[in-house]
Each structure stands twice: as structure tokens, then as C-alpha cells.
Symmetry: D2
Subunit: 344 residues, 4 copies
């Protein structure tokens, strides 16, 4: 196991790429050797991403996303921060060339190429790779991530939904047919896109649901919930856009399986995550403000005795535990570094 790793970020100028870049610049065992951006090729890092400007920082400039240059950069590990469909174009040759790939797109999150086609409206571009991809949720797949060549980091909503639900479904404490999820995300979750609906004046003093009833993230959420429950799970999921830059808050209602109580629910969560460095099971209610800027997901449960429903709540930073931070956590596992390195 080496003491440090050379890393490239392909597609570094979106919000996720920027956050990843910021985290990796501060990571004591990472050296960034390449950053790509079609739009900004040739410009220095600090000119494109002023938040990443570091006095005496590394003198990196953006390059075109060309395979030869990427391979020549000396990078051992590649982050893909690209749109779905595009990520595969890089993953395939990089894997073939023996490099490690941590993909932040949706391209390798699903085990079934047909489900990909259903939710993403085009054929899967590299179905052969699906079998070797590992879903990059360390709290569930830690061991598999450590030896993977291709890690498919989960989406931001899925992380906030899977972490509270998986321990309970694994133990059979919820009726999986009764799950309804209402999430609210900060606007950075929509990406850095010059889109009228994402303008400040459109999002400020605004709250709206979108993407119903079949948001793309449902595919990976249901895949992982089904694996946890041991049977096919379908849920209702409604995401909302909240007037804030960062943070995802998730509220889940479900009926308990017979025998499940308020205590068994909360103690199952506490036990499952007792040793996890980045999941905090709490008694108070989660608040996105308390996790923003960190890789932590906070979780709690309540029991609504009047309607006999279990209520679950979680909060995370969509760009950290929901994207770049989780990517760094996976990098630490892949490289054999301490899992919290560069994240605390």
C-alpha cells in the first residue's frame, strides 16, 4: 500500500468536481496531477475555481479530456465527474488500461442494464462493466470497495435515503410496500448549468417539488432497498428544490413490520452505525446546517403512535457525503488509507 496516490479529475468544473477538487487539495496523501474541462482547458485552476485558489498550492491548469494525456499524467486513480452516458466513454478505456476509476455519475450504479435504459432513456453504453462495478456506499459495501477497480459513487438523494432505510429493511423492521420519501435539496444539486429555472431570482423565496413521479435516482434507490429487504421494493419519492445552496434533508414515512417498536427502530440504527465515522444517529431532529461542510449524515427516527407509522429523518451535505466526500471516502478505502483521511 503506497503512502500517497496521484489522482486525476475528469470534468472538474461542475459543483461536484469543484468540491472534490477542494477536498483533494487538502488531502495529505493525494496529489492532483490532472484536471480536465473542455470549456476551460488551458486556464489555471484558480482562475476557473477561485474557491480552490491556494497560495503556494500546486500549479495545475485544466487540460482537454483526452485519453492519452490522461494516461500520460501519471494518475493512478481517476474521478469521473461527468454526465451519465459520457462517464462510460472514459471508464471503459481507463479500466482497460488498468487504472482505478471512481465514477460520480450514474453510469455504473445499476446492476441491470435494462433498468438503466428504462430510467436514463438510452441503452447502457458499457454493460460489460456493470458486473465489476461496486456501489460506493462504504457503510454497506466497505469490503467490496477496497478491492474494486470501478466504484460507482451513489447519488446525493440515494445516500440520504439508503442510510436510514437499509439497516431497518435488513432486519425486517419495516413493511417495504409502505415507504414514502419526501426530500428537499439545495440548488447546487442541480449542477452548474446556465438554466433559467436555476437563476437566483427563480430559486430564492421559492419551494417546489419536481421530478415526480419517476426521478432517475429511484432506480438505484430501489435496487439497493430491494437488496437490503431481500425482495423487490418500490417506493414513492418526491424531491423538492429548497432555496439554499447546499444540503439534502430527507423525511421517510413507513409502516413498521409487526413487532417493530420505536425503541427497536432507533436502537437498530444506533447499533448499525455505532462504528461508522460519518453516520451520526441522534435524538434531536437533523438539520442540514449541522452537516454542511462535513462528510457526515445525521439520522434519527420517530414513531407516530397516532397512525402507527415510523418516521425517519436524515440530513447531509449533497456535495460532500452526497458526492465528493463520499468519493474521497471510497478513495481512502481503495488506496488503503485511513477512511477519514482528508475528511475531518
Amino acid at each position: 500500500m503506497s503512502q500517497s496516490v496521484k489522482v486525476a479529475i475528469i470534468g472538474a468544473n461542475g459543483y461536484t468536481g469543484e468540491e472534490l477538487c477542494r477536498l483533494l487539495l487538502a488531502h495529505p496523501r493525494v496529489e492532483i496531477v490532472a484536471l480536465t474541462s473542455r470549456q476551460h482547458a488551458g486556464k489555471p485552476l484558480a482562475a476557473v475555481l477561485p474557491r480552490c485558489d491556494r497560495k503556494n498550492g500546486p500549479a495545475i491548469s485544466f487540460i482537454e479530456p483526452k485519453l492519452e494525456a490522461l494516461l500520460a499524467s501519471g494518475a493512478e486513480l481517476f474521478f469521473l465527474s461527468l454526465p451519465h452516458g459520457v462517464a462510460s466513454e472514459f471508464a471503459v478505456p481507463l479500466i482497460r488500461a488498468g487504472r482505478k476509476v471512481l465514477d460520480l455519475s450514474a453510469d455504473f450504479r445499476l446492476r441491470d442494464a435494462a433498468v438503466y435504459q428504462e430510467f436514463y432513456d438510452h441503452a447502457h453504453p458499457a454493460p460489460d462493466l456493470l458486473a465489476q462495478a461496486v456501489y460506493g456506499l462504504p457503510e454497506v459495501y466497505r469490503k467490496e470497495i477496497a478491492t474494486a477497480s470501478l466504484v460507482a459513487c451513489p447519488g446525493c438523494y440515494p445516500t440520504s435515503i439508503l442510510l436510514p432505510l437499509i439497516p431497518l429493511l435488513k432486519k425486517g423492521l419495516l413493511d417495504p410496500k409502505t415507504i414514502t420519501v419526501s426530500s428537499a435539496s439545495g440548488v447546487s444539486g442541480a449542477g452548474r448549468k446556465a438554466d433559467e429555472t436555476l437563476l437566483f431570482a427563480e430559486c430564492n423565496e421559492s419551494f417546489r417539488a419536481y421530478g415526480v413521479p419517476k426521478h432517475r435516482h429511484l432506480s438505484e434507490i430501489e435496487q439497493e432497498l430491494s437488496l437490503a429487504a431481500g425482495s423487490a421494493v418500490r417506493i414513492t419519492f418526491v424531491p423538492h428544490l429548497a432555496p439554499m445552496t447546499r444540503g439534502i434533508h430527507t423525511f421517510i414515512a413507513a409502516e413498521p413490520a409487526s413487532g417493530a417498536t420505536a425503541d427497536t427502530i432507533q436502537s437498530t440504527l444506533r447499533d448499525f452505525y455505532a462504528a461508522e465515522p460519518f453516520v451520526r444517529v441522534i435524538d434531536r431532529m437533523p438539520n442540514t446546517q449541522y452537516v454542511t461542510g462535513t462528510n457526515v449524515c445525521e439520522i434519527t427516527s420517530r414513531f407516530d403512535a397516532r397512525t402507527s407509522r415510523v418516521l425517519l429523518f436524515s440530513a447531509e451535505d449533497n456535495l460532500i457525503k452526497g458526492a465528493g466526500g463520499q468519493g474521497v471516502q471510497c478513495l481512502n478505502l481503495v488506496c488503503g488509507f485511513p477512511e477519514t483521511e482528508g475528511l475531518s
Copy 2:
């Protein structure tokens, strides 16, 4: 029916009272003759509520909330914008003195004093008045409001939840045991209280659920839903605080009754509200920004075929259709004015 009405607002310096004041200053048939505030008695309106500063506006100063002075003011109709429990102290003598009362507090919204005690933690202060109070939701109780002496204006969350659900429950299109509600409110809904948790730095870039599992508004919501359904209804209701000043957005999931379809749901909503001036049934998704500053509640429905659930969405301005504007709508009914007067 007179052409104009003299009005007093008791407790005019909270956000609801201020909005009411702002609306009534622009109402062509209303003359404000008294405003009370213990804290600000003696100060002119514009010094306390600069948003209500009108050049050449009426020269009103706040007075102490004393009954004799209020009766002597000549006011025919009294708005109570006071905490629950306190509102009754004014409602009882004002009703006895033959005045009309529009109460924006929770004191007269419940038909059953025992439910009030359960949810508000003290005995109802004036149970004898409950029988004559009318719930001030014009879309449901228009006729009763017109002849009422005591109107109990609904809470902000209840308005946003009842308007989409009542038409569907009345027609038996939903299974009333399956209703889950997730609402998000702007911070003005918490009132003008010097409370650390409501500071800008605590609420900005923050999203959190609160008041679970038994928010006080559940009592009036379930009362009205039960009346619409013809049987006792209990729901799961989770309110959230969103980083915006105004607006409530509500998402409701429920299972359809057998035979209900996407089309019958949406057309039932359209038909029920076809002639209503302040309810807009739309095809696009509701957005609080599109109703802020107006007395409109927008509503739509979707059908989640994957889980066979009906999804309902609504948006309103919590201080207008959810409070002061609905109060003005009730005033128009009580006084026989056109229902939209001062509201468009």
C-alpha cells in the same frame, strides 16, 4: 349591507397582524379605527410597521388592548391576531357586546373542547362559544361565514392541506387511512419572536423538520378531513422549516379508493374549484414563488403508477391565503362585499 366597515385589529404587530394591516389599508371599503399592541402602545403605525407607512395614510397609533377603548373606537368588526388562549379573552366580551369577531388564533377552530385541551395543553377558555364559531375556510363554509358572528380563520398549514384533500375525500376518491403530508413553511410562519432558533444565521442554509409527530394544527386538519370523509381520519403530518420568509408548500401522498384514476382526481379538483376566485388548479407543479403576495392557493395532482399512490401538491402564501388574506376574504363575506375586494 353597508358600503364600508370600521375595523379594529387586536395584536397587530406580529407578522400576521402586520400583513392584515397592510391588506386592510388598501381595502377600499375598510376603515381601520384601532390597532392594539401592549409593547408599542402610543407609537404611530408607521414607526412600528414601516411596511405599512403610507404617505397621506390614516394617522393611527397603537393603543393598549383595553376593552372599553376598543368598544369606544366605533369598530364593528374585530380581528384577533393573538396567541391561542389570549384570543378568547377578547372574543367573549366582544361577542357579548354584539360585535363581529374574526379570530386568527386557534381558539375557536375546534368543535370539541376536549380535543382543544389535548392539543393545546390547557382547558378551553370559552367552550360555550364553540357551537357558534364557523371555520373560516370560504371554499367550504362560504354560506355559514356570511352570517357568522365569530369566524375562526384556519391555520396556515391546514389551509394548504385541506384545500387539496377535501374535494377528494368528499367524493370518496382516497383511502383516508393512508394519508401522509409533508409541508415546508417559510420562517415568518413562526411569528415575530425573539427566539435564537429563528435568527437569520440559524435558518439560512438550513432545512429541518419539527413538531413531529403531533403538531397542534393536526387537530383542526383531522377535524375538517373527518367531516369531509364522513368518518374519523388520522394522518401523518410533518412540517419543515425552509430558508425563505414566506410561503407554504405541501406534498400529500395517499392511496386512491378503488376506481379513482389520475383523471378523476384532477377533474374533481378542477370542478370543485372552477368558480373559486382564489384556488387555482393547475397542470404544472405548484411553486410558492408564484403565489407569494397573493391570496391564491395553487393545487395539482399526479398519479404514481409504480406504487399506485395519488400525489397532491399545493402552494400558498402562509401570511395571506394562510392567514391575513383569508381573514379579509371572510370579512368580505361577513360584510356582504364582493369576495375579492381588496385582494386582487
Copy 3:
């Protein structure tokens, strides 16, 4: 003097056009007969501008901005809410056809075509019309506006800067060589443009200056200040972008002319605006929140005895008194309606 007027808005889908549309829909003497938008031609008003959706409102759809159709619409008065340079293309034929034009662009605000060229980087497209255009600041040019065919409504920053300074320069109370202006604007001032720098995630939790040292609005500001002072005035002007949707706040520092005191400054402002319906000279400090949603500009002055400087402060809604509302105020003057009609 007619009792009502038929109006067209050319370029109605920006923030200014939308606000104008919202105001005119509520104006009791205005009938909107045409709205243009290249992008949205054919779509109904409510589909493009949901804030303008009115139940039982007029059934207007957007049309292409073609002159013949506009003339055929029956409109007597045309608002131009277009980019500079483009506005002239409509103003010229409309004026020639004998219509009244209220232009919200910069095309006719300057008396000197050479200054236009210096600040807008292209030759003035219709210099012959400059002589007949009236600068649409009613507090200064009320009489001229009433009889004008072509009114050039001031920019948002200029309104907030001119209103506090003009009375003082007219009376010779300030040294005009010493004026420094620092303004902060809400993001709607930048228009509805799909521009990365205006995304929510870029503007929220952000404060920045821009457009220094030679913002285009300087040209009209200095023109009007020079006219008020009776000699050429040059100022330092620094605009900032603040993380809010609406509002402009202006702070001005200047040295007093000899003999000017704190009292003469404040009383001159009070006297000048004593009869003005939309300018409020106050003792407390202005706050954009207190004027948002209204056509009011609030103003105060302070004297910094330690450095012998006069400090002036103003606040306005950039889309109302800074744009659409001022346009409506001008319309009222042009049509002989009460000046506050549709604005209170």
C-alpha cells in the same frame, strides 16, 4: 382625457416586463391588448409568467414583436422593455405612427448621442429622437412627462441615486466634486438571463462589487446631476450584487458646501419631497425590505461630524420605483390619470 387606455408591452418576459405586466393587470384604467416575446410567442400569459396568472383575468397570449400586429392591436401606449439598441427599432416607427412610447431601456435617457456611444459602445440608433425624449423621473420632470410622446424611464440605480442628490445639488448644498456612491442591488436587476454567474448557487452567500469603474448607468446619473448642479458633475459609483431578489440600497458620501448643515440637508430633502406620493424622507435608516413591493423610495441623511461629510441613504424596489412602477407612474401622467392610480 380618456377614462382608460389600451397598452402594449414589447418584451414582456424579462423581470421588468413581468413586473410591469403584474402592475398593469391590477391598474383600474389600463387594458393590456398586446404582449410580445420572440421566445414565447403563441403561449398564454399565465403559462409564461405564472405570477401574472389571474382567474377570470384577460385571455392574452404572447405574440411576435411585429410592428403591423402591434399597430393593429389598438394599443395607444407602448412600453418597451427591451435591451438598449433594440428599443429604438420599435420606438422610431411607433412615434412616427403617432403612438406614445414609454421606454424602459437606456436608448433615450441621454441627451447627447456621443455620450451614448461612449458608454454603450455603439452609435446611437436614433439620435433624432433624443431631443423630444423626456427623462421619466416624475419628481423632476412631471410637467414635461405629461405632454411627452417619448418617455425614457430612468434606470434602477439612477433613480436611487438621483432622488437624494438632486434637491441638494439644486440648492448648492454639496460640493459636487466629492461624491462617492456605493449601491447594492438584488439579483433581479441583472435580468432573466441564463448566465452562470447569476445562478442561485453563485449569488447566494455572496457579495461582490462589479462594473467598476465605469458602469453604464453613470452616463445618465452624471447627466442629471450636472443639470441639477448647473455644472459638470463626475462621481465615483460602485454597484454591488447582494444575495436578495429585489431591492436597491444606496449610500452616498459627499462634502457639504460651505454653510450646509445637518439640518439644512435633511429639511431640504423633506421640503422637496413633501408633496411627493412616492418619496418618503425618514429619520430612521432606509431598509430595502420596507419598500419592496411598493413604488416608494425612502431617503434619509446623516452628518458625519468627525470627517465633515454628508451621508445620504436611499432604498427602493429596483423592479418597481426602479423600473415598472416608475413606468406606471409616467403612464398615469401621460394619460392624465391620478398619479398614484394602480400603485397604492
Copy 4:
């Protein structure tokens, strides 16, 4: 030089204390041994400051601010995050007991007790200590801080104003009689106070100036500017409250001294800060968003040739470079640690 230091924070539950606590928890050479809060004594850190909740973090609870307990805690260095006037009550006995004190209040920033009395409205509580206090601006007083027992960390506005001005005044490049400063601060700068004017609904969509013409921070600003200029300097300073949680942006206008040019101004700034780890002299305009969460202050200059004025701009995080981060930078100097330790 020891490898680590035991630290106590007196008054740790305000925004500055919280940020300091967050930074020190991540500092590799600091062990927090005591945190005080009258209001929260007895409660664990994570219960009071959830942002400081660290899994496997130190098990610290708040204690009462009693001297004996503080001395017994083993702390070698004490941060005072207390109101002015109160800080002295702790500084005096701690200094007497031979401890190092880093004071974040205003108590020891001024060299002259009479100026303190003029600006803070009460006699200085410990004038004997003023002579040994060092003003904690490392870019100016690095050497003195390293050997100081009592460091008076600068206020948030002063840091943003002094950093651009001091190099220029030292070189005689500005006319010191002509300085006007307009700053905008996020709301956290006002502290965690249950004050109606700081509520979310009062600050959101609001921009206002305050504290004119004689803000308390003027006293330390003018002291340090006078020392840099070598003669008494008085300035006009107008702070504004902007609707954001964090960040201070400062705009300064001044007339150049004869011979100063755009180039000499910008190159003087570049040279003065060339080796400084936390001051970034840039060509683009500063933006609070680019420094929030860091200890960096970014600075640029422009020359307004039309009015012959120098324009300076700076941006910082008011709670980091403007408070807690600067405190940590001073701690590093006092303890002989690398200056950037725990800050990058």
C-alpha cells in the same frame, strides 16, 4: 517550543466561539481542555454546538466561567470570546497567573484608554494592561505577537479595512484625509442574540446601513491607520447588513497621493503580501463566496481615472479571518507552530 498546547475558550457559545471551537477541534497541535458558558454549563459540547459534534471527538462539557476551575483545567492559553468589558474580568487574573490570553473582544485593541471610553461608553476596566497588549494582525505585528502574553485580536470590519489600506498608507500612496469605506457584513457578525431585528424574516430580502456615523470599530481602525500613515487619520465608515450568514465585503475610495498610479497601488499590495499565506492580492473582483470557510482575505485595487480616485476591494469570512481563524493564526505564532497549522 512544545509540540502541542492545552487551550480553554471562555464564552464558547456565540458564533465566534463556535467557529473557534470548530477550528481548534481540527487543529493537530491543540487540545481543548475547557469551554465555558454560563447558559449551557453542564451540557456536552455536541448538545450545544451540533456543528462541533465529532464522532470519537473529545468528551468535553461546558463549565461555568470560574477562574479557579479554569486555572485547574491545565490550559496554557485562553481565548476570550466575551463581550467588551467582560473580557477584562478574565484577562487580568489570567495574565497575573502567567497564562497567555488571546482576546477576541475589543477590550485591549486600543492603546489609549480615553479613546476606549469615548467609543465604548464606559471607563476602561484594566488600563494597566493596555501597554502590554499586542494588536493581533499577523501581517503587521507578527514579531510582537510571537512574544506577547496578551493578544487583542482585531474586529471583523477592521481586518477587512486595514489589510488593503495599511501597505498604501505606509508608502504614502493615498491622501489619508479622503478615505470613505462602505462595508457589507453577513448577519452572523451581529452575534447569536435573540433580537427581533436579527430574525430571518427581518434580514432576508433586506439590505440596510447601520451604526453611522460612529461605529465602535472606527476606534481601532483609525488607530492602526494613523500608525501606518504616521499622522492622525479619520475616515468615513458605513457598515451594512447583507442577507447572508457569513462574509464581509469592503469597498474603499480614496484620492491617491501625488505620483501614485494604478500600477504602483496594485504592485505595492502584491509586494507587501507576497509571502503572506492568508492574503491574496488578485486581479478579478473579490467575492465573499470565494473566501467563506477559509482564513483568506482577498484584495484588489482599481483606479477610477474619471474622478482620479483609488478604489480598493476586499472580502473575508467575518468569523474566520475576521475572528476565530485570525485567533488561531495568532495562537500558532504565540506557540511557535507553523502559521498555517489547522488553517488550510
